[in-house]
């Protein structure tokens, strides 16, 4: 499946708490090209997760338009968004969120249960996804038998097993040490450069953001500045 671009126009998002309006995003514009790897930074509570959820169709904007690939998300119903998510996005979370009673392979297989597919095809896909993240030999381990870094790899395999166009990662290295973080970031990098996935990654860590081609800064409800990572851009174009 080809990579998809992301276009947000004048996106507003507000939450209501005790009838009090809490504005989070206020007229945000954003364009991410197909196959781009973008990092999203900003102070805590600035709305990074909210933005990621809007792009992934988990939430809908109060106002404005969100287009991912050919889909105009703000006009889709909840059930249409759910179906859309299963095909077009893969989520990666800070806390991995694996099902503890299932093995690595079974966790990766979970999203495929939504598709009509021969079991041999399913097995092949799971094995491929696990090989890509470098866990081809850990398929029968349960999450509690894996390290944090390995758990995150399983979560990444789960995100890519359906071959989505877009990967959305919310602080994927937030809970990992520097070395393991580096491995996970290299893996995301490879998914971007070699498999052409469009990636949006929220992070607090400037070094993590350095792996992306572009870093967007979110503050006070809008993207107030951005910077292009030339070093990474160079390695990306070199490969």
């Amino acid at each position: 499946m080809g990579a998809a671009g992301i276009v947000l126009r004048d996106v507003h998002k507000a939450y209501f708490k005790d009838r009090l309006e809490i504005p989070v995003l206020a007229g945000l514009n954003l364009e991410i090209a197909p196959g781009e790897f973008a990092a999203l930074m900003g102070p805590s509570g600035s709305g990074k997760s909210t933005l990621l959820h809007l792009i992934g169709g988990l939430d809908t904007p109060t106002r404005g338009s969100v287009r991912v690939g050919d889909s105009q998300l703000e006009s889709m119903s909840e059930s249409a968004l759910t179906a859309w998510r299963s095909r077009h996005v893969g989520f990666i979370f800070q806390m991995y969120h694996l099902v503890p009673v299932l093995t690595a392979a079974q966790n990766v297989e979970l999203p495929l249960l939504l598709f009509r597919m021969a079991s041999s095809e399913r097995k092949r896909r799971v094995q491929t996804a696990l090989s890509i993240v470098g866990l081809g030999d850990r398929t029968d381990h349960r999450p509690n038998q894996l390290s944090g870094g390995q758990e995150q790899r399983v979560a990444i395999a789960r995100a890519i097993v359906t071959d989505p166009d877009v990967l959305l990662a919310d602080e994927p290295t937030g809970d990992l040490d520097a070395r393991t973080s580096e491995e996970i970031l290299n893996l995301l990098n490879a998914l971007n450069t070699e498999f052409g996935k469009t990636i949006v990654m929220v992070t607090h860590d400037p070094r993590a953001a350095g792996h992306a081609g572009r870093t967007l800064h979110l503050d006070k409800g809008v993207l107030d500045r951005e910077e292009v990572n030339t070093r990474r851009a160079a390695t990306a174009s070199a490969s």
């Binding site: 988990l58 759910t82 998510r85 299963s86 989520f91 299932l102 297989e109």
Partner: protein, 389 residues
């Protein structure tokens, strides 16, 4: 891997809790299925009784007050052309037991001439009927009693009566019956019984109950009023009722068993539903994030609802099966003999009872899973994911 497999694995998440919840289903369902079987067996007995078109005539005041035996002729005279009554048979309570044993046998003296007619469902062979009529000491024994004491046809057995004049009489077994409702009884000849009483100075031949076999339901209704009206304001006022009414009045001490079972079942089901519902709610509250991830991955509300509900139903059905099937197997294997009040051959778990119990378990599983399944639908994926930061 299927979704069913995922559900099954989820039960392993907290094995102790899953186990206890299953026990909470297993135990009441085991008791329930036995109770239901009992009720069904009794219902079968009463259905069989209905088919026999029998009326019981007893003393209006109490069963123990015997009616004079001449009342049989008077009753017969109420239907001179025998349009409504097939035959009348008088019974006197013998109250016997095997010497040196404690438990009594429901033993009754019956009029020898009409007993085979009024109780024709015992399916008499010519030979059995002739033996009964020929030998004054003849006795017909229910299969439970015969099995309990190891008696066979042709055996001579002695029974002591526990009521005055405390006769000790010898009988010859001419027939063993497994007819519905008769398996715990023993029937002897009243003429032999009365003569032995007379020898001890008890010269008041009488019957605790006259059993009438009627020709039709209408005939039964007519005779019921006719008899009681006939003996009204006489020294021997009667109370006439059909066989099930008679049996019910007789087992009143046991209470209304079906009603009681229903009451217990309702309470138990309610409690199990609460316990299971609470457990399911706890179990899913701990997994809010996981359900949110399922939704983020693309599981629709309908699917998530199904996942939660199925887990609850699975727990309920597996738990109930774990209680019911071993109970049924054990009862089937050891075949508990019901000797005593209840006119049932042996207590086995009926397939109907199993089906009823499983349906109840299923409904409780659905009921218990409904709230958490609804909560799973309502779950706000975004806030659930955010809660962990």
């Amino acid at each position: 891997m299927t979704l069913g497999y995922v559900l099954l694995q989820n039960l392993r998440r907290n094995p102790l809790r899953s186990g206890l919840t299953m026990v909470a289903f297993a135990l009441p369902m085991a008791v329930f299925v036995v109770g239901i079987s009992l009720v069904l067996a009794l219902q079968q007995v009463s259905k069989a009784n209905e088919a026999e078109l029998r009326l019981a005539v007893q003393n209006r005041i109490a069963l123990v007050n015997a009616l004079p035996e001449r009342l049989r002729r008077e009753i017969e005279a109420l239907d001179p052309d025998k349009r409504r009554i097939v035959a009348v048979c008088g019974f006197r309570w013998f109250g016997g037991r095997v010497p040196n044993t404690k438990s009594g046998i429901q033993s009754l003296g019956a009029d020898p001439d009409t007993f085979p007619i009024v109780y024709r469902e015992l399916r008499w062979t010519d030979e059995e009927e002739q033996s009964w009529k020929r030998d004054r000491r003849a006795a017909v024994v229910g299969s439970n009693v015969a099995a309990q004491y190891g008696w066979n046809v042709g055996d001579r057995v002695t029974l002591e009566s526990t009521v005055p004049p405390y006769l000790s009489l010898e009988f010859v077994i001419v027939k063993i019956t497994d007819a519905t409702g008769r398996v715990n009884g023993m029937y002897l000849r009243r003429d032999y019984f009365e003569e032995s009483r007379a020898e001890r100075g008890f010269r008041n031949p009488g019957c605790n109950v006259f059993w009438l076999r009627c020709t039709s339901i209408e005939a039964m209704r007519e005779m019921q009023t006719l008899i009681d009206e006939h003996f009204a304001n006489s020294p021997n006022e009667t109370r006439t009722m059909d066989e099930n009414a008679f049996a019910a009045s007789f087992t009143e001490a046991l209470g209304n068993l079906p009603g009681l079972m229903q009451g217990i079942a309702l309470v138990v089901v309610f409690i199990v539903a609460l316990v299971a519902g609470n457990t399911m709610m706890m179990s899913f509250r701990e997994r809010t994030r996981e359900l949110a991830v399922f939704k983020a991955i693309g599981f629709s509300n309908r699917r998530v609802f199904g996942v939660v509900l199925s887990e609850s139903v699975m727990l309920a059905v597996v738990g109930a099966a774990a209680g019911i099937l071993p109970t049924a197997a054990v009862l089937g294997a050891i075949g508990v003999r019901m000797v005593g009040f209840l006119p049932i051959t042996s207590l086995t778990v009926s397939p109907t009872a199993i089906v009823i119990a499983m349906c109840i378990a299923l409904s409780v599983g659905v009921a218990a899973g409904l709230v958490p399944a609804w909560q799973a639908i309502r779950l706000n994926t975004v806030s659930a994911l955010r809660r962990v930061g």
